[in-house]
């Protein structure tokens, strides 16, 4: 975003481009959405003394650890890509952003594998082998919405990275979608302990 003509426009109180401010506003509204889902999950879990605890160390917890590693690592590769974009290194920015996209795809595949394991054990939206029928609905809602965000981020980053190479987008656009990607990573940091680790099989 360029400067303004002195005397005609007031300076932005936040000193960020409008697109970045919109992304921040989206992020806080989305954070509240996830918080509402996690609190709804917490409400159900707290109110049901026999809440299922189905997650075994292998494969579930190991899979979740790997997913966490992949997602946090993809945040780092996104930052490296952004640094390259700021330095004017187009090929470096594209390469690191595509590595980030690859991390997102790997995360999604691992997530689907985790889902398939649970579905194989008989977990459905409103029934499961352990009682408390809402376990499946709450689990698939939270992890499904997060997975949807990962898939959306993969598509957006791919689009912006290719557009950046063609000159349609600049490093500011990459930065805005990097913000989104880090937010997806941040949400996972709350999903893992509350949805998985608090419900491990003992």
């Amino acid at each position: 975003m360029g400067g303004h003509v002195p005397g005609l426009m007031e300076e932005s109180p936040f000193a960020v481009p409008s697109k970045k401010l919109v992304m921040w506003l989206f992020i806080i509204s989305d954070a509240v959405t996830f918080a509402a889902l996690l609190m709804g999950y917490g409400y159900l879990r707290n109110a049901n003394p026999n809440w299922p605890e189905p997650f075994k160390f292998s494969p579930s917890v190991l899979n979740v650890m790997l997913m966490t590693f992949v997602l946090i690592s993809s945040s780092l590769t996104m930052l490296i890509g952004l640094r390259a974009a700021r330095a004017g290194d187009k090929s470096g920015a594209l390469r690191w952003t595509l590595i980030t996209v690859g991390g997102g795809v790997l995360f999604a595949l691992l997530h689907i594998r985790e889902w398939m394991g649970l579905i194989g054990e008989g977990v459905r939206l409103f029934q499961n082998p352990w009682g408390v029928p809402l376990f499946g609905a709450s689990f698939f809602s939270i992890t499904g919405l997060h997975l949807l965000h990962v898939i959306g981020g993969v598509i957006a980053l791919m689009t912006v990275a290719l557009g950046y190479r063609r000159g349609r987008y600049n490093s500011d656009d990459l930065e805005i979608w990097a913000l989104y990607w880090h937010f997806v990573d941040l949400v996972w940091m709350f999903v893992v302990p509350f949805v998985y680790l608090m419900n491990i099989a003992r």
Partner: protein, 104 residues
């Protein structure tokens, strides 16, 4: 101009790698906590503390909020914390339902 520099003074690659390693270590700490320490409320509080620390690191360093203007930081934090705090009104009803079910 401020418009062009806010949010960009975000530290070098070394800082990013250090934060990345901290996030991985905290994720590992959660696994250790869940298998070797407290259960119930204590476990929840410890998990929540670690998750908040992870989120704080990610927001401040990866999302560069620490190098944005204070106006932006305050606007985002106050509105988010207010809404999240108001949501906590549900817990008393959750405990009521739990006690009701335990008495049945």
């Amino acid at each position: 101009m401020a418009m062009e520099t806010a949010g960009r003074d975000s530290g070098g690659l070394g800082t990013y790698v250090a934060v990345y390693l901290c996030l991985l270590a905290l994720a590992g700490l959660q696994i250790v906590l869940v298998y070797h320490h407290a259960e119930g409320t204590q476990l929840f509080l410890r998990m929540f503390s670690v998750a908040l620390l992870q989120a704080g690191l990610a927001v401040m360093f990866f999302m560069h909020l620490r190098s944005e203007r204070r106006n932006l930081r305050l606007s985002l934090a106050i509105s988010t914390i207010f809404v999240l705090a108001m949501m906590n009104m549900i817990w008393s009803d959750s405990f009521r339902l739990l006690h009701f079910r335990l008495l049945k």
